[in-house]
Structure formats: C-alpha cells, structure tokens
Symmetry: C2
Subunit: 274 residues, 2 copies
C-alpha cells in the first residue's frame, strides 16, 4: 500500500505537474506543495511570477507532463486540447488527475486522447478559492475512477493528507447531482446578484444565509457558470423547471389570481414574525 506520510524534504517528494495556474490551480498550490515537487505549467505570461510567489517551478507543458503525477486544473472547455497537448510527453504509468466540475464528458475526452499506458482519475473538489479560503479540512471532493485502479491511492491522499471527505461516484451520478447542486445554487445566486440590491441593516438569519450563498459564488468565473449551467447535460431540465416554476409563482402572486400562493404550504394563521 502506498502511503502519504507527513511532508518530506523537497528532493524526496514525488514530482507533480500542475497544468493550469488560474484561480483553482493557484488555490491548490499551498495545499499540494508540502507533498510534491511541483512543476507548474500555463501559457499565461505571468507564470514565472505565480510560480515564484508559491515557491514552485515554472515549467513547460512537456516538463509538467513528464512527472509521475499530472494534475489538470483547466476548465471543461480546455480539457480535450490540454489532454492532446500533454499526451506526447506522458510517461508510461503516469497518473493523470483532472479537477473539472463535470466528469462524464471530460473523462470521455481524456480517455480518448491520453495514451493507454497512463492511468486516469477524475476528481471534483466541491469547494473553491472562496469556500476554501479558511482551510479545506472537512470539505467534500468527488472521486470518479477513470482508467486503472489508482483512484484508491488518490482517495487516501485526499482523505489522509488533505483531510477532505471523499465521495466516490460514477461520472454520470456526479453530473446528475451537480446539475442540481451547482446548477441551482448558481441560478439563484446569479439571479439575486443581478438584482443589484443595496445591503440592508435590518436582516433576518435566513437572509444572511442566502446572501452568504450568493457571495460565495459571486467570484466564480463566467467559464464556470457556463460549464455548470450549459455544459452539464442534466442541467437543462432543472433550468427549465426553475424558470417554469418562477412563472407559475408569478402568476399565482398576481393581484387577479384567486389561487393560493403555493400548494402544500397552508400554515398556522397566528404567529407572525420571520
């Protein structure tokens, strides 16, 4: 059994190629650095600065791909091109791990472009730079077996070294749940955010909770919003239903409506504060 012990001296750490120095790649670095010699690759012009700031090596894509572990922190839209670009440089037995917010299509694309001699594990960290800003222990991560049996190694690392709660899932089950979890949260958050309302002083606990959810996704990228709401094949029925329900609510709430506000909510008539 391969174990992930306490952080070791830099030269003895295994090499990890991190492809993608964007918001999530940068967020990962301090959590991974104690366990790996990291080679950070990204075409962005400020790669050197980012690598220096985190105390890791700026690397070419070829150098990153030549490490025994390769972690992809790129959006779903770039996963096929990234996979094709690293493919010629991968060594047999390399473990490639992706972090896309979707799993079905990215893992299918990676399986198609990566050589048969490398193993593949899909992960989706169910948190980000905002929700993980005070630490990631106890947060959730999905692991989807991709090719080969080393998802168990990845699970042990995520649980024991990073303290995450691992949920093993098929890619399809993951994407179905994400349609609801991320789809709904982002729909609501973007809707509320678009209203651009002033911050009131007389607030209820439930309003504060709603605003925390809105603020947590406010900084997510437009690319992520598109991935969540448009690239997940299971999200369309939910989006459809969300907006249809909004129209029904509006109709029920219109002054001329004789229907009750909402079905199944008949409550007590007395007791008036929220």
């Amino acid at each position: 059994m391969t174990t992930f012990p306490a952080p070791v001296d830099e030269p003895s750490r295994p090499g990890l190629g991190l492809v993608g120095a964007g918001a999530f790649g940068g967020f990962c670095l301090p959590h991974l650095r104690p366990f790996f010699r990291i080679h950070l690759a990204d075409p962005r012009p400020d790669l050197g600065e980012i690598a220096a700031r985190h105390g890791v090596r700026a690397a070419s894509l070829a150098e990153a791909a030549a490490q025994p572990f390769v972690l992809l922190a790129v959006p779903v839209a770039q996963i096929a091109a990234t996979g094709a670009a690293i493919a010629p440089h991968l060594r047999p037995g390399t473990l490639v791990v992706d972090t896309c917010s979707l799993k079905l299509e990215p893992l299918r694309l990676l399986r198609a472009v990566l050589p048969a001699s490398v193993e593949l594990v899909g992960t989706h960290p169910l948190f980000g730079p905002n929700s993980g800003r005070h630490g990631i222990a106890g947060l959730r991560v999905t692991v989807c077996p991709g090719r080969g049996g080393r998802h168990r190694l990845v699970e042990r690392f995520l649980e024991r070294a990073l303290g995450l709660t691992v949920i093993r899932s098929t890619a399809e089950a993951h994407d179905r749940e994400m349609a609801q979890v991320q789809g709904l949260t982002h729909l609501v958050a973007r809707l509320v955010d678009s209203l651009d309302l002033p911050r009131p002083s007389q607030t209820t606990p439930s309003f504060e909770q709603l605003m925390r959810a809105v603020e947590a996704v406010r900084d997510d990228s437009e690319a992520l919003f598109r991935t969540i709401t448009q690239e997940n094949p299971f999200v369309a029925p939910l989006t459809e239903r969300f907006f249809a329900t909004a129209r029904e609510m509006q109709a029920r709430m219109s002054p001329g409506s004789s229907a009750g506000c909402l079905p199944g909510t008949a409550g007590e008539a007395v007791g008036d504060a929220a």
Copy 2:
C-alpha cells in the same frame, strides 16, 4: 429610569397580556415568562393546554387587555380586528406592543383603533421559531416608535433582558428594507422548495448555505408569506424585478442566444471548481 433586573418572583412581576398563542406567540413565551406574569389570550380551543404547557395563565381577551403591558402576536391581517377587540378593555397608560412583520399599516391601524390614553410601540423580531430555536441572544429586532416615548423602555428590555440587537427604524424604512430582506428570501426559498428536489450527497458549501436558508423559511406560515410578498407595499417592484430578471436570464441562457450569460461577470478562464 425603569430597569429590567434579573427575573423576580412571580407575584412581583408586572402583568403582560399576550394576545395570540400561535407559532410566534408560543415561541415568545419561554423568553418572556421570567420577566412577566403572563395572561395568554387566543380564541383557539386548545388555549388551556398551551397555557398549561408553558406555565402561564389562560385568559380572556378582556383579562389580557387589562394588564399594564399588552403584546400582540397576531398576523397583519388580524391586527385591526384585534386592536378593536382589546380597545374597550385597555386601561390608561397601558403599553401596547405589536410584533407584525410589517410596520407602516399595522401601526396606522392600531393608532386608529386604540384609545389615545394608551401608548404604542411597534416591534418586528427579525427571527422566528426556526432561526431562534437555539436561543435568541444576538439576533436582531426592529423597534418603531408608535405613540408616546416608551419605545426606549422596550429597547432597553429587548437589549438587556433578552440580549437582542435592537435597530430603531421608522415604519416606512422598515417596510422598505423588509421588502428586500424577507421578500427576496421568501421568493427564493419558495421557488427552490417548489422544485421538490431530492437531497444530494455531493454538495458544495454554497449549496448547503442556500438549503439552510430554504429550510429556515420552509416552516413559515402561508399567512406570513402573503404578508411578506403581498401586503408590503414596497415588495411589488422587487417581485416584478425578480421575475423579469428570471425571464432575462432564461433568454440569455437559451441555446440560440448569442449574448453572454450575464453582464459584468467576465472571469478568469482557468480555475474550474466551485
């Protein structure tokens, strides 16, 4: 200066008539009982049981109204009728306090029906049986001067005896903020709740926060939802805008749309996890 010291023996406590033994009235009882001799009035047939369960007196409306303090825990829709019903039994100098989720219209109605010899203070506890189930210290309450100067007495009691954070407001400023705070929270919560989705296992922190907000208002009565969304004169423009924004979002997200998803959200292209 009148002070509210530590709870005193029952016979020396001032009398308080609590009108309304519904969800909010019942929720108030354990918090008020250490400070008052409570006379609980409500036309409901199980009044005796509720009073016995809380160790307070079941009372007629006349008895409750004859106390030096009278607290109204009835919905906005019943405030005028309740005010008219207690009016003949009120003694000069009595302090009447309401707890309605709106302040402008309820205070106007109460000023119209209560004798000029009683004082009036409007309050809106910005919490309820759900958000206050683990205690109310630190939660917020709005106080609106109604008639006379004893709102300062009420504020001191709420702050020092109950540990609440008091926000003094005009009735209009309160109703304007509530249009947003309660209106928006309830619109979103009812919308999400109406989708009737299964509870997923792979959840993000922001989804969990959204669901806590939804669950916090789930148990609110239909009467409260109507008060919040339909009886507040300032909520209609927000509701209108909420549904209009939903329609715009849907149009932008439709497959044929060439527009970006949402304005002002261009984010980083790399960094793909929420």
